[in-house]
């Protein structure tokens, strides 16, 4: 149990350090790499939550697809030498920090003040089959709507990219 705890602490620290890198790095490439580290940390936490299917989906979709998409966008948006500074004024940083800290402490107060149901330490025994059953029995309509949304998003992205070039 000591080793499991140590690895869990390591994963949590990795997630938080990745998030801090994402928002504080000067270069946008480092910000993207910090996002990748955070996503891997979240996948590790999913494994600790007994949800290995979600962890694999996290690595496939977020690390494999979305971060590559962001990398393409970084490469397409201008050369590295003309990249603008990522940092803004100190005033805006303080404002952002105040807003984030306010949100953080409000939610922390809610979390600490709420009583969770008993029996919450029982292990989660849901397999991939159960996820599929829930997805296709109970949540059929949202599933189809999500697929429709993704098709519309892909077609929309292609249309935006194509027709703007033509009209120029």
């Amino acid at each position: 149990m000591i080793i499991a705890d140590a690895i869990f602490i390591l994963i949590a620290l990795m997630t938080m350090v990745g998030a801090l890198t994402t928002i504080l790095a000067r270069s946008i490439i480092y910000a993207m790499l910090g996002l990748v580290v955070t996503m891997f940390g979240i996948a590790g936490m999913y494994i600790y939550l007994n949800a290995p299917f979600i962890a694999m989906m996290q690595i496939l979709i977020y690390v494999g697809a979305i971060s590559i998409l962001i990398a393409f966008a970084i490469m397409l948006v201008g050369p590295l030498s003309q990249r603008p500074r990522e940092w803004t004024t100190l005033t805006r940083f303080i404002i952002a920090l105040v807003v984030a800290a306010f949100t953080f402490f409000v939610f922390i107060k809610i979390v600490v003040g709420s009583k969770w149901l008993p029996g919450m330490s029982s292990a989660l025994n849901l397999t991939t089959k159960d996820i599929g059953r829930t997805l296709f029995d109970k949540l059929m309509l949202p599933f189809e709507l999500i697929s429709l949304l993704i098709v519309v998003a892909i077609i929309g992205a292609i249309m935006i990219a194509l027709f703007s070039r033509e009209e120029k």
Partner: protein, 108 residues
């Protein structure tokens, strides 16, 4: 013994999710370029997905609703990233920069 373990404590997971939310808010308000803001929004979505799986595991472990909604969040994040990046590339083509402070006009 397993109840004393650190990874069976709901508060730690919720703390990590909240930390991701706070970092995402700071990034959206503080970063200058549009791509960085998009990266910060991805942070927020990761935190939301973690929260859903945590509540599924600790509060309602009978059904897999939380995991299914995490999969939905991943799909919505993919669609949102595709559309946002197309718009960012369009903006770059027209205005030659992607700084949010410089984008004042919507139509030329």
């Amino acid at each position: 013994m397993s109840e004393m373990s650190l990874y069976n404590n709901i508060n730690i997971y919720l703390f990590v999710g909240l930390f991701l939310l706070a970092c995402g808010i700071v990034g959206v308000l503080y970063r200058r370029t549009l791509v960085s803001m998009l990266i910060s929004i991805e942070l927020i979505m990761n935190g939301a997905g973690l929260n859903l799986v945590v509540f599924n595991r600790f509060v309602a472990p009978e059904r897999a609703y939380g995991m299914a909604f995490t999969l939905f969040i991943m799909g919505i994040a993919a669609a949102e990233a595709a559309i946002a990046l197309a718009i960012i590339i369009l903006i770059f083509r027209r205005f030659k920069n992607v700084e949010s402070d410089e984008l004042k006009e919507m139509k030329d």
